[in-house]
Symmetry: C3
Subunit: 142 residues, 3 copies
Amino acid sequence: MHWIQQHVTLEAKPRGFHLVTGEVMRQVPDLERIQTGIVHLFIQHTSAALTLNENASPAVRGDFERHFNEMVPENQPYYEHTLEGPDDMPAHIKASLLGNHLSIPIADGELAFGTWQGIYLCEHRNHAKPRTLVVTAYGERA
Amino acid sequence: MHWIQQHVTLEAKPRGFHLVTGEVMRQVPDLERIQTGIVHLFIQHTSAALTLNENASPAVRGDFERHFNEMVPENQPYYEHTLEGPDDMPAHIKASLLGNHLSIPIADGELAFGTWQGIYLCEHRNHAKPRTLVVTAYGERA
Amino acid sequence: MHWIQQHVTLEAKPRGFHLVTGEVMRQVPDLERIQTGIVHLFIQHTSAALTLNENASPAVRGDFERHFNEMVPENQPYYEHTLEGPDDMPAHIKASLLGNHLSIPIADGELAFGTWQGIYLCEHRNHAKPRTLVVTAYGERA
């Protein structure tokens, strides 16, 4: 049984949905030491999220941003938590809808992704800082 | 420590929410070798999802389909990713709202479900193919 | 490799979003035996959910409740599963949107939370009973 745990920092990004598979994975080179296992990605924030979705068309990421802005609009009359700006409360709700952690199987030393899957950082704040992930991987040694 | 990992194929289903606990679990007979652990189900697609919900009333699954079609409608004017048909972009969004993986505790060699819990395959495409899961289970040997 | 698994009961709560980090964690004192690992929280119900979000402002939790009631309204004409009351079908949908399990990294014997993260019990029924979690933690011994 082998355990890897480390922090990974993602550069600050504009509000929107961003494909970050490469940015995450190249910071975790030791993952190849695990033959069969799980990699767990956990974002230590409450206004950004992680999800898996289509890794090819940038229009998909744009449509996600536009749809989430319809489904969780700013400036709803019933929002009471408005001190940190109109993007803050929607950011919290979007983050919980999408989720703050992913767990992905490792098979034969690699992420067991389907052909079209990639990791999205979902950045819901207008002026975001870098985001920190805790990456924990565990499994049988390669 | 014992690890099991295998692919499971679910037969092609109509668009909608389907109870698949039996179809999944009977393909993973070795799960009984684990006394205490976790089973992780990961769908290798971006337009279908997995969730846990009520395992009794078919009306619940119908209501899920109808409500998700209201919450994530087709043909929104702001969708740009429309090449693969009107059901495609909503399918991606629904998949990320519901999530592409489940992890379920194993206790005394069985899924530690509550009385009313079952596994749903959430099929969001009109003309879907079979769907592939990677099932990874790990824990202490029975 | 060390495994902990136990049930945790959360007292019955009013409909709404509740910060329960303390109520959960003080029932799992053995967690400190794990140096590096994962704690997995699984709610054995289909009309309540778990999520992570902002641990400071009660207004955030109120805004969650108000927004979810807009996004998943009661008494939609297309609901067929209405036997158990107008809050029942929305409760199922909200539960699947938020998710029924969390997994959180353990680092240096503690939950690797960001500064603002806390565990929410999302109670979607008007007259709820106590809720049961299965808590499974695993990792390297401290």
